[in-house]
């Protein structure tokens, strides 16, 4: 009985999704020749979003349309997103305090893993910086860079080089908050110059976006690592350590 009900519910949901997809106007950015063919004509009165972004790209301060949308035209979306991430990590940190902090054990890694850490971690930091810089004119940006940075942190943790959470002191909290805080300060700051919330002045847009993205990268990396590092490590095993 319950199974049938769930199956019906799923079927209904799938039907609704399909219907919604079918109702999309032809050129909202789904670069699809098939759709325009189906409609027989390209509707000239609906301006596609890509065209709208392209028309205003020179006012955004960056040259990559996706970054322009994420950090300028629809910046409040990104602002709330980093807020959600911050809330998530606060939840993890609240639970984590139950476990006692444990010491660092770099010798547990074993020689081969240690070599990987020595080679890969600096490269990860470098690539994170590259992705952050590249975001202004090609795919890249704070989230991707932060994720790569977090990858470095997770690798350090797995090889026993990072304590079960970085000491939960002032600096950790400051680092977690940094991205959100800088974003918020700039968002509010521009209103003093007579602009609307998050509407950067055109001349300074590039610099402001870079400042936001740089702090976001650090915070996102730290938040993702905190999500991983919050758990205590398993009871250690023999063998590997003794190499």
């Amino acid at each position: 009985m319950t199974r049938t009900l769930i199956a019906l519910l799923c079927l209904g949901l799938a039907g609704m999704l399909g219907w919604a997809l079918w109702q999309l106007p032809g050129d909202v950015g789904l670069k699809s020749d098939l759709q325009s063919e189906l409609q027989g004509q390209v509707q000239a009165d609906i301006v596609g979003l890509p065209a709208l972004v392209a028309a205003h790209l020179d006012q955004s301060g960056v040259r990559h349309p996706v970054t322009a949308v994420l950090l300028n035209f629809r910046a409040y979306d990104t602002l709330l997103e980093i807020g959600v991430l911050l809330l998530a990590v606060l939840g993890v940190l609240a639970v984590r305090h139950a476990a006692a902090p444990e010491p660092v054990h770099p010798q547990r890694a074993g020689a081969v893993l240690a070599a990987l850490v020595h080679l890969a971690v600096p490269l990860m930091v470098l690539v994170a910086g590259y992705l952050l810089w590249a975001g202004a004119h090609q795919p890249g940006g704070a989230f991707q860079a932060g994720a790569v940075l977090a990858g470095a942190g997770v690798l350090l943790r797995l090889s026993g080089r990072l304590p079960a959470l970085l000491p939960p002191g002032f600096w950790l909290r400051a680092g977690l908050l940094l991205g959100f805080a800088v974003f918020l300060v700039i968002a509010l700051g521009v209103t003093r110059g007579g602009h609307e919330l998050l509407a950067y002045p055109v001349q300074q847009a590039g610099g402001l976006i870079l400042a936001i993205e740089a702090s976001l990268t650090l915070s996102i990396g730290l938040i993702l690592v905190s999500l991983f590092v919050g758990a205590p490590s398993p009871p250690e095993h023999g063998g590997e350590a003794s190499e």
Binding site: K31, V66, L131, P139, G140, G141, F143, Q144, A147, V148, A150, G151, V154, L158, L224, L227, F228, A231, P234
Partner: protein, 89 residues
């Protein structure tokens, strides 16, 4: 001939993704489900490439194929599922 290769690639990746999704949901082995999910993320990144969204492909590569895998495997380890190290001979 000009269009058949992209078409072949797209349908192949779409079918594989659907199949992996089904296997991930229907398997009873938690570890297997996690691994299938990692592979799903990997192929999803390749699908975003074909959908002309390299930004999403980059995010999926970093989060989906890299971090989520480590996080979920860590969770599996902590759940202490009855581990079967394989047939000991």
């Amino acid at each position: 001939m000009n269009d058949i290769l992209p078409w072949l690639y797209d349908s192949l990746i779409a079918l594989t993704l659907l199949w992996i999704a089904w296997q991930t949901l229907s398997t009873r082995d938690l570890f297997k489900a996690v691994l299938l999910f990692i592979v799903f993320g990997l192929l999803m990144a390749l699908a975003w490439v074909r959908l002309q969204a390299p930004d999403l492909a980059l995010a999926e590569a970093a989060i989906g194929a890299g971090l989520t895998g480590a996080l979920l495997l860590d969770a599996v380890g902590h759940l202490r599922v009855p581990r079967r190290p394989g047939p000991r001979k």
